[in-house]
Symmetry: C2
Subunit: 424 residues, 2 copies
């Protein structure tokens, strides 16, 4: 059975959002997730901590959307009014739910603290509403059904504003309930994120063709962050197995079309993770040299921590300065650095171009030389013309250097692997 | 005359926002600016590119807010419908404005291009509406007044979604018009941003006391970004002079209360700019060394470009590796680095602590040693306990190192300044 197409509205609650003190990122996250469930998000609304305004916003949202997901206003303080607003919208009193109270008291007990009396409000629910378990925090969510004049209904899911709690509650409880509402037996959802580098978004879209259409089954979403392209496969099915099968066949089709650009999987996986993994498998290590106006490679690799695959990073205005610090000749500087750092590989950017200060429009492409030195001391260099918005241009250049390193690594025979019992 | 307190709603238009493909940052920026004008933002709404939905959103907004500022939907393509929606809301036809058409054709002519016919729509305005000049782009803004049932009115300002164009149009045209609506003769606004480092937000608020109250004249807004605190003074007056006077006296009062934490002025000004300025004035230079899991100092200083005050950055897992690269003794590594790099000063972080992967809650404070070596080779070191959210902890540590460097610089007598005619 084909699920019914539902519309949704995302509501964000809090003076810190309407005043601009905080940037709302929950609404974006929820919109993407709802889209993956096949639900069209038609409106977002943001409202401050004023009871009547909250009631108004919920009435409007319930009137125009089948599903409303709201965040915020579930805390224990007096300006947290979501519970009261929902009670007013469904015209029901709040009642204490013992199971919710036990959960909240249990959380305080685990931290060796008494529950303050004001937290009791977090165990209060409009009569007839459902709870949404919050495994991490004291604010359970509220799930109410609003009856509309035309005998249809709208379902409101209220979640806390803390992103980590909100996300887990959405995935664990709200998404399955929405799949139930949308009808049919397909109540499981599974995701997989594949990562790519090397083309722009529109080229990627062209190569993927109908695979990224809205009605493709399973849905494949494309997002770009600082020149890294993510494809997110969202499979909805009757069982986890059915979802996995959809993902596997879609994955194979994607790899057939754009496999040459694929470098790994997972929301947070970037090329520097891929390079670190490759080098660790080969038992080799890397040193980075960045000339010009950035040190993104050093910062990325440093974040990996005590990886034996990364020996260190160097950032100078130009190569003369490296030569001076190493007390060697200009021409020998890079190779000396690689050797003394005890690294098999060196990757260098020569050089990150200058930016106009406060520039806010894409830069014209600049020539950048990307250099790799391999374990034998051989130098592989390529010159690229790279441009882009000032906020991402240095990341794009750093990523192009990593793509060049990955390419060179792929062409280089792996050393004989260290024996697994070498330490014995 | 005291201005009337107005309420405002911010509306964002575009499928890319409701679907979550793009994060809406315009609404936050506009909310802050409106707050600085003394206007309370009570709602945000986001709507996709559907004409009827746009009309509905504008009707609701005009019904509940005195001022509506919307962004998006003013482009030349068929899914840009803001103009048409506004015409429907005020029940007026669209008419061609020759002055707007001339402006658009002029922009194309300057780029040596013919104006495509579809851009003509950008010169169409609802009868009775005002234009908002867009000096940078082809989309002029629209300023319409909506009459409400109770004979009051609401004013809608429609701006393009491109942030650079939107911001300039708001500051140059919309803000003065809003000050006119709010009544009185105070139609000028001036801003000043002061930057601070060294305490948390709540301590800062406590020390500033009533200065950051909402009704303080002039208004002082506080924001925090990765442990840097910004105070934004927004003075509204009858003349630029009156605004300047308000700013100067408020600035003096702020410096009296928290001057010890102040390191500079301007939206984009950070401690590394302050350090670079200090060193350039002294004719001295700096090298940075970062041990552990980050290279934020190198990345910040590199972004300054060909500054003679920054000699380079080094990032290693530990000091042994630096010693190996320099081929010197462990104990001599830092001082050797400073000398060979030709720098008077060295700043070092030992060390950025590891993070749990995917951690999403504040880290317990870790002991970090911050080291400065001065031009005589003397070592100044301090140990701090620093914690915070994983997304900002490395920046906070880097900033603490810069605060330590600034402190040490302030205690160190400046060298005799280079003669201004030294090159002659």
């Amino acid at each position: 059975m084909q699920p019914k197409t539902l519309t949704a509205e995302v509501v964000s609650i809090g003076d810190e959002m309407t005043s601009g003190a905080r940037l709302d990122t929950n609404a974006q996250w929820l919109s993407r997730r709802l889209g993956e469930l096949g639900i069209e998000v038609t409106f977002h609304s943001t409202v401050g901590d004023t009871l009547q305004h909250n009631i108004d916003v919920f009435r409007i949202a319930a009137g125009r959307a089948d599903v409303v997901v709201c965040t915020g206003g579930l805390g224990p303080t007096r300006d947290d009014l979501t519970r009261q607003a929902l009670a007013a919208v469904v015209d029901q009193p709040l009642e204490l739910r013992q199971s919710a109270l036990d959960h909240i008291q249990g959380l305080f007990a685990r931290r060796n603290r008494e529950m303050p009396p004001r937290n009791e409000i977090q165990a209060m629910f409009p009569v007839g509403s459902l709870q949404i378990l919050n495994p991490q925090g004291t604010a359970p969510g509220v799930d109410v059904t609003v009856r509309r004049g035309d005998h249809s209904t709208s379902r409101i899911f209220a979640l806390p504003g803390v992103p980590a709690e909100m996300k887990r509650m959405f995935d664990e409880t709200v998404a399955p309930r929405i799949l139930e509402i949308s009808g049919g037996s397909r109540t499981h959802i599974e995701h997989e994120v594949m990562k790519f580098f090397g083309v722009g978004e529109s080229d990627m879209e062209q190569r993927l063709g109908e695979m990224i259409d809205r009605d493709h089954v399973p849905r494949v979403g494309i997002t770009v962050s600082a020149a890294t392209i993510s494809l997110r496969i969202s499979a909805i099915g009757q069982s986890p197995q059915e979802c996995r099968q959809q993902i596997e066949s879609t994955r194979a089709e994607i790899l057939e079309r754009v496999g040459d650009l694929h470098f790994g999987d997972g929301e947070e996986f970037e090329q520097y993770h891929a390079v670190e993994k490759l080098l660790a498998e080969r038992g080799e290590s890397l040193v980075s040299l960045e000339l010009g106006r950035s040190a993104v490679l050093a910062d990325w690799f440093a974040s990996l921590g005590q990886s034996s695959a990364y020996r260190g990073g160097f950032c100078f205005a130009n190569l003369d300065e490296l030569a001076a610090v190493l007390e060697v000749d200009y021409a020998a500087a890079m190779e000396t650095l690689r050797r003394r750092a005890g690294a098999q590989w060196l990757v260098a950017v020569d050089a990150y171009p200058p930016l106009e200060s406060n520039a806010d429009s894409p830069l014209p492409a600049a020539e950048v030389t990307l250099i790799v030195i391999d374990p034998t001391g051989e130098v592989f260099s390529t010159t690229s013309r790279l441009g882009g918005h000032p906020s991402i241009i240095y990341q794009r250049i750093g990523k192009a250097a990593l793509a060049w390193l990955r390419h060179t690594l792929a062409e280089s025979p792996a050393p004989r692997p260290a024996s697994p019992t070498a330490e014995s």
